[in-house]
């Protein structure tokens, strides 16, 4: 059964110190904090350029577990070397188990997961590396000022997809990284959201059971980039789930199951309207075509899920 059912079940241990240089309301911080509560102190965090790099600025660090900084595209490759290095030290040189018995977590943004680090991540999954790969997905290159990435959703404004003239903003759709990872036959793949903390905690807990790649993609609200209020982070994340735009699901050896199934979807507008990056869909004129395209895609997705998982 689920280990975490309410606030009281959340572990008290803190491995992310308060007061880092991350923006107020940053989703990446909430995810890191809860992830480490479950994975514990015997964790090595591999981080790459991106928003979370700000957690550790010499001579300060907000991360209380060993932290390794790698180049943008090399998170998973460095994790491979660390895991292998620790394993061979135990096997060949007899180094004490408690010195090498770490969980290795690659904690990166969507640029590193969907784009520049895609190849090295795919290869590490293919080699069945025993690691966690956790993407805090804020749907753009947030740390450099919000440019288009492979994770940016259709019609989002970014600083490199400005909705000027006839442009809708981002004309491409978001890559389906969950399905791409699932196609690798990884033991465990999950989506998570900061609005559903017990769901998140239970998924990290469940992932511990598996040897091999354990892959997470988390919707990470970015108040500065998205143009949203910093106190609304959790509310916006909840709307993403309730409008059906961010499904909560997991795949165990490729078998998909949704962990939260809305019976009725709230209109996507409710979610879109909370963020300045979608403002051009409503002002100066309402762009019904784009809004209904987004709504239609969400409904098509859920119709398939309801059919399959609720026999509806």
């Amino acid at each position: 059964m689920s280990r975490y059912r309410g606030v009281k079940d959340i572990p008290e241990e803190e491995y992310v110190a308060p007061g880092s240089a991350l923006c107020a309301g940053c989703g990446a911080e909430i995810i890191a904090r809860h992830m480490l509560k479950v994975l514990g102190r015997d964790t090595i965090m591999v981080n790459v350029p991106g928003c979370y790099a700000i957690s550790t600025l010499f001579p300060y660090t907000a991360v209380k577990v060993p932290y390794v900084f790698a180049v943008f595209g090399s998170g998973a490759a460095v994790a491979q070397g660390i895991r292998d290095g620790l394993d061979i030290l135990r096997e060949k040189r007899g180094v004490n188990n408690d010195r090498v018995n770490y969980k290795v977590v690659v904690y990166v943004g969507d640029g590193a997961a969907y784009d520049i680090g895609f190849q090295s991540t795919s290869a590490a999954i293919h080699r069945n590396l025993d690691f966690y790969f956790v993407c805090y997905d804020n749907e753009a290159y947030g740390n450099t000022g919000f440019q288009l990435s492979g994770a940016t959703p259709y019609a989002s404004m970014t600083s490199t997809s400005p909705p000027l003239g006839d442009s809708v903003g981002n004309e491409y759709g978001k890559k389906d990284i969950f399905e791409i990872w699932r196609a690798h036959r990884a033991p465990y793949v999950a989506t998570i959201s900061v609005s559903h903390v017990t769901d998140m905690l239970n998924k990290f807990e469940k992932a511990k059971e598996f040897r091999g790649p354990k892959l997470f993609v988390a919707l990470s609200i970015c108040p500065t980039g998205w143009g949203a209020s910093q106190e609304d982070t959790v509310r916006i994340a909840r709307l993403a789930v309730e409008t059906g735009m961010w499904p909560l699901k997991e795949a165990v050896y490729g078998e998909v199951k949704h962990t939260f199934i809305p019976r009725r979807l709230k209109p996507v507008e409710e979610y879109l309207k909370t963020q300045r990056r979608f403002r051009h869909l409503f002002k100066p004129v309402r762009r019904d075509e784009e809004i209904s395209r987004i709504q239609r895609e969400v409904e098509e997705y859920w119709r398939r899920v309801w059919e399959k998982e609720l026999n509806r």
């Binding site: 550790t56 209380k64 180049v71 460095v78 290095g85 180094v95």
Partner: protein, 415 residues
Amino acid sequence: MSSNGGMMLTGNAAAAWGARVSDVDYIAAYPITPQTEIVELLSKWVSSGELKARFVEYESEHSMLAGAGGAALAGARAFTATSSQGLAFAFENLYAVSGWRAPMVMVNVSRGLGMPMTLQVDNTDVLSVKDTGWLQLHAETCQEILDFIILAYRLGEDRRVLLPVIVNMDGFFLSFTREPVYVPSVEEVREFLPPYEPPHGIAFSERELAYAPTIILGHSYTYFRYQMHLAALKAKEVFYEISRDFEKIFGRSYSPVEKFMLDDAEYAIVSMNSFTSIIKGAVKRLREEGLSVGVLKINMFRPFPVEEIAEALRGKKGVAVFELNLSTGGGGIIYPELLKALYHLDERPKVVLDFVGGLGGKELTYGEIRYMVRRVIDAYRGGEVSPHATLLFTEEDTRRMIADMELAGKSWGGF
């Protein structure tokens, strides 16, 4: 394996043996000509159990180097090998590994960088990574490849250094040439090279360490970069120390530079890597012709052995620098480094001329070597002096180029 008899080994096999007797823990691999034989051999030995290590083939050199560095950071003795395009693809991770202060050894089998694509030698690949924080040892012979790998581990792992090392060999000329190589036993090497237990390795350190946190301000960035520079400079002194230990155990000794028939010579040719053997042979003949010339071979390019070069070339009338590389728009890459070593000398050579040859594995003929020396003697006596590199390109090369162009349906208009 005993050190009594030599084995006939290619440069690549000598490199693999160097890693094997150094008892490496981790091998990160990716195939590329002309290096592939090195990782194939290591893979075979790991599978057969002759070498207890972990072997992982990555999906690119970029990841391969990141992985090797990660293993070194964990505290394992890591090895990898690459060449040209692979070295370039791994470029940013060269900085990452040296910045982590994670010592490891990478063999580079030198090859030109496309375009145009070639499989043959051009040292521009390895020299273009001279500023990355990796130390560089350059091998002339297959024996040196093996010995330099063993020395490189001891050098890089020294706590006063803690930097990764590239051991370079020339593609084809050394990688596929068999020479007798004395291969020491793992036990003998262990006496020289104890197991690696880095104080900052993840498996050997205290917890809660942040490796390579981002730096915002200039003073702390400057501090860490300059610390690496000082460690690299220190490596030369450490190299002398460990060379003495190496000689005691193995009977062979190395210095950052090697002098060949140089002390009594009026003129010198400076060279690196395998073409030095060709030049040494030519110098013997030139001596017979009455030309007073010797050779200065550079074994260590990083740190650059400024003092040794100054000492070796002090009082020479003239110097020819042979460069198997070309920095387009600049010239030879060794030349400016060499001038730095000589400029402040009272008895500095009157002329130092730069020559570029052998590119893409082009033959270096006796005539070309003789030409370099004649040009330097002529310049000393008042002839033409130029800071620009002279290209070694023979009439035969020109004839062949004209023929190629005709076959391609084009006319040859000269350079």
